[in-house]
């Protein structure tokens, strides 16, 4: 193959960029971008977020890996994003491949291509990127000279639908494992051995799943009979990777030349959540809860402000009010940065008046709305999903919000929860109206309530993974009811396309055979499936037909508790026993309290007992582990999965 030079790519870009929308998406060169010498780098990594620049640049995961990799003297990492349709057309016509923003090298020139897959509707974009980058789409067609294609992110917890395209998945947290992957790649490259050697080497790293080393077999009815190793030395199951202590936060963010979706410094104040909402994929897979110290957060805010000049910081976590020292953090931020015209966003607050006090300290302008997420509108439903908040509590909190000066409340709900009735849906409208009524008392006609209603998708590794999806007709009907009843001044309703939700469900719950469906859909032009204006449902129905599969099989059956899931060999370390029990509890309306109050033995501690012992105290929110059977050094010095070493 004749390789194209970065000079040739740059020259072609000169001619095509003035003709496309928002050319600054495609130039690179921003403040804090890292450029390293291509020739002297031993490993070159392309970090790919398979959506446009505007979204990808706001992704914290990508920024973390970029920082970690570029700190290594012999490694370089560069960014690649999806091209908007006009730019894709231009570069296909000019016959140049997709390139990295930093040095304009063709994607196929990199040693490793790392995809960030936070959600499933990016899958066709990932295929499109490989195609534009002139990398063989199918893992089995890649040879020694081709890049290693890896992927990670929350969607990778069910890697099977993408198994045909990705050489290796990272299950879990990437901060440490990414460097181990680079090391393995360097060793392999120096040894001049064949590609399967590399894959085998990777499979022995804790948290890495190499799909080609496993085989799935099916029953007559299409369900899985077993997933087995083809390679004796591959791990079974593949245990998720975690970092025992959150590393220091990134402070040197790239500052785009143009507006992106979030123009702010993101700081993860804690990882994981102790609440145990049964629908919540993130809450199950990001355990255990680990917090950063107030001091560390304050210092990193100060440093990143100097590095970026941003006017806003986002304190990120799954449940900000649960951060142990949240009051102290908020107080310190408002004192230390009060003269800086700094906006602080604090998403994911609990429904309690304490949240209003927190925001009261941060936002003096009351500019934005105040967001609460009851997720369901009746107490029965909220108990079922384990988000036990009383309706009175929702109203009381709303009252406080309006009383403190906000005039707009956003309420997030889901429809399609298990056993949901039309009454539960109508209750959404009633609750919104009741909240608005509270608002009118303080804000008159300026009060407004926006309901954001999305569709529940039973996700892998959650207590609801057995549940069937509501079918499109019923969802459409429920949305219609909401549209009808949420009319009038001060009320607004946002909802998701039921078809896109269905696609998300297929892709998140599918097995290995879904790879064929994804490939067929991409061939027929599917891309940007998360975008309403690009998404084409008919293509996907046709793709199922071409692959000889029935889409109802994936989404419209309640799965028996003894069925083998496509993701059965991926161990999120929250045990199936716990998930099953929680599922059965939900049917009885039984709830669980915050697991900081009482440990429910979800499975994290037995698996990671040694890590917990090595990191005692407040670093984790799990109880401390007292007994000591194995020297901790043994586990910390090896990149083996804990379960495999300790035999738990």
């Amino acid at each position: 193959m004749n390789k194209i030079t970065p000079e040739k790519i740059s020259e072609t870009l000169e001619a095509i960029l003035p003709g496309v929308q928002k050319p600054a998406r495609y130039t690179g060169g921003e403040l804090n971008q890292v450029i390293k010498d291509w020739e002297s780098a031993r490993t070159r990594v392309a970090l790919v977020f398979p959506d446009i620049y505007d979204l990808g640049m706001s992704n914290l995961g990508l920024a973390i890996l970029y920082d970690i990799l570029n700190r290594q003297p012999d490694v370089l990492a560069e960014r690649v994003f999806s091209l908007w349709s006009d730019m894709e057309k231009s570069i296909r016509e000019s016959q140049i491949p997709l390139y990295s923003l930093e040095t304009k090298h063709a994607l196929y020139e990199f040693d490793i291509i790392g995809f960030s897959l936070p959600y499933e509707t990016l899958y066709t974009n990932a295929l499109n990127i490989l195609d534009l980058g002139e990398v063989p789409l199918l893992a089995e067609n890649r040879k020694e000279q081709h890049p290693l294609v890896i992927a990670g992110g929350h969607a990778a917890y069910n890697p099977e639908p993408m198994h045909a395209f990705i050489d290796a998945f990272v299950i879990g947290e990437g901060e440490e494992v990414i460097l181990e992957i680079v090391d393995a790649h360097q060793e392999w490259k120096d040894s001049n051995s064949a590609r399967p050697e590399l894959l085998l080497k990777l499979s022995n790293i804790w948290g890495v799943y190499v799909p080609s080393l496993y085989r799935a077999d099916y029953h007559q009815d299409g369900t899985i009979s077993s997933v087995n190793r083809i390679e004796r030395n591959a791990p079974y199951p593949v245990v998720k990777r975690i970092v025992p202590k959150l590393p220091p936060p990134v402070t040197r963010f790239i500052v785009p030349y143009i507006d992106t979706v979030h123009n702010r410094i993101p700081i993860e104040i804690m990882r994981g959540c102790t609440r145990g909402c049964r629908f919540c994929h993130a809450g199950m897979i990001t355990r255990p809860v680990r917090e950063r110290s107030v001091e560390e957060i304050l210092d990193s805010i100060e440093q990143s402000l100097l590095q970026t000049g941003y006017e806003e910081i986002g304190l990120l976590s799954l449940s900000s009010s649960d951060y142990t020292n949240i009051s102290a953090l908020v107080k310190n931020i408002s004192q230390r940065f009060q003269t800086d015209h700094l906006r602080v966003s604090l998403p994911s607050l609990r429904i309690e008046s304490f949240s209003v006090d927190l925001m009261d300290n941060l936002d003096n302008t009351r500019r934005g709305g105040f967001t609460l997420a009851p997720e369901a509108a009746t107490e029965r439903m909220r108990n079922l999903i384990n988000k036990p908040v009383s309706t009175e509590q929702v109203l009381e909190t709303s009252r406080e919000i309006f009383k403190h000066g906000w005039s707009k409340i956003k309420l997030y709900f889901m429809i399609g929860h298990p056993s949901e009735t039309l009454e539960d849906v109508i209750a959404i409208a009633d609750l919104c109206k009741a909240v608005l009524k509270e608002g009118r008392k303080f804000k008159g006609n300026r009060a407004s309530v926006t309901a954001g209603v999305s569709t529940f998708i039973p996700k892998p590794h959650t207590p609801f993974q057995w549940v069937a999806c509501e079918n499109i007709e019923v969802i459409t009907e429920k949305q219609k009811v909401l549209r009808k009843s949420l009319r009038g001044p001060g009320l607004k309703l946002n909802w998701n396309s039921p078809e896109i939700s269905m696609l998300e469900a297929w892709l998140s719950r599918g097995d290995r055979r879904m790879s064929q469906v994804i490939l067929e859909a991409w061939k027929m032009g599917a891309k940007f499936d998360a975008w309403n204006d690009h998404f084409q449902f008919d293509i996907w129905l046709q793709a199922f037909e071409n692959a000889n599969l029935d889409w109802r099989f994936y989404t419209h059956r309640e799965r028996p508790v003894d069925e083998i899931f496509p993701w059965e060999h991926i161990d999120s370390t929250v045990r199936k026993k716990f998930l099953t029990e929680d599922y059965l509890w939900s049917r009885d309306g039984r709830t669980r309290v915050d697991c900081r109050e009482q440990c429910f033995a979800c499975g994290i501690l037995p698996t990671f007992a040694d890590l917990r012992r090595a990191h005692p105290g407040d670093v984790w929110q799990c109880p401390e582990v007292k007994s000591k059977k194995i020297p901790t050094g043994e586990i910390l010095n090896q990149n083996k999965a804990p379960g495999q070493l300790t035999g738990i």
Partner: protein
């Protein structure tokens, strides 16, 4: 840095180059705000609901054009010697912005929009154009040049002050120098002039050399 608590208005002459040419007006304002924040300089913010930094960029440079000597005024809450401002600012600038000079101006002096009357552009052509000087003269001889932009028709001719062709010694590059009117509501665009000459603007390089101040 010596400071006292009187507000100060400074005028910055800067170049906007390379990748920065694809940054539009609003994003350029943000870029300046962030540069001053990184430099820890006390930019004046407006009061109230949605505080904004007090920055005034002379004449918006259209997306895709580069500029040699663009003009901007910015207000600071406290007085800082211009040399000190320059020193703090330089390491804080993003790639593609170069500060050429900084001077203090009276806080109540007229706005840049009122001062600026014209722009000099230099356009580099990708392909050789036969009899370029002749074609430029022909265009200048026109009494009216009616064009349409954003659904409105207007006469481009009074917005063109001067045109001339330049050819490098070895004949390898050909350029057009343009002096165009730059007033609020009466601004000549070099790409419109190029289109009138039947030259496709996309592939040319348009560089604003200077803004003319009355």
């Amino acid at each position: 840095m010596i400071e006292n608590s009187k507000p100060m208005r400074i005028r910055i002459v800067f170049s906007k180059l390379d990748q920065m040419r694809f940054t539009g007006h609003l994003d350029l304002l943000k870029t300046w705000e962030r540069s001053f924040r990184r430099a820890d300089l006390p930019v004046t913010y407006s009061q109230g609901y949605n505080p904004r930094p007090r920055i005034n960029i002379g004449a918006t440079l259209p997306l895709g054009f580069t500029g040699e000597s663009e003009l901007m005024d910015i207000w600071l809450d406290t007085r800082c010697p211009p040399a000190g401002v320059l020193e703090s600012l330089i390491p804080s600038l993003p790639p593609g912005i170069v500060v050429k000079s900084i001077q203090e101006v009276e806080t109540d002096s007229p706005s840049l929009q009122r001062l600026i009357s014209g722009s000099d552009y230099i356009v580099t052509l990708p392909d050789f154009v036969n009899e370029l000087p002749l074609r430029l003269m022909d265009l200048l001889r026109e009494k009216e040049i009616w064009r349409e932009r954003r659904g409105k028709s207007y006469d481009l001719r009074p917005l063109i002050l001067d045109l001339s062709g330049i050819r490098s010694n070895d004949n390898s590059t050909q350029q057009i120098k343009m002096r165009l009117l730059t007033r609020e509501g009466a601004t000549g665009r070099p790409d419109e002039v190029l289109s009138s000459l039947n030259i496709e603007p996309h592939r040319t390089r348009i560089h604003r050399l200077r803004l003319i101040i009355n």
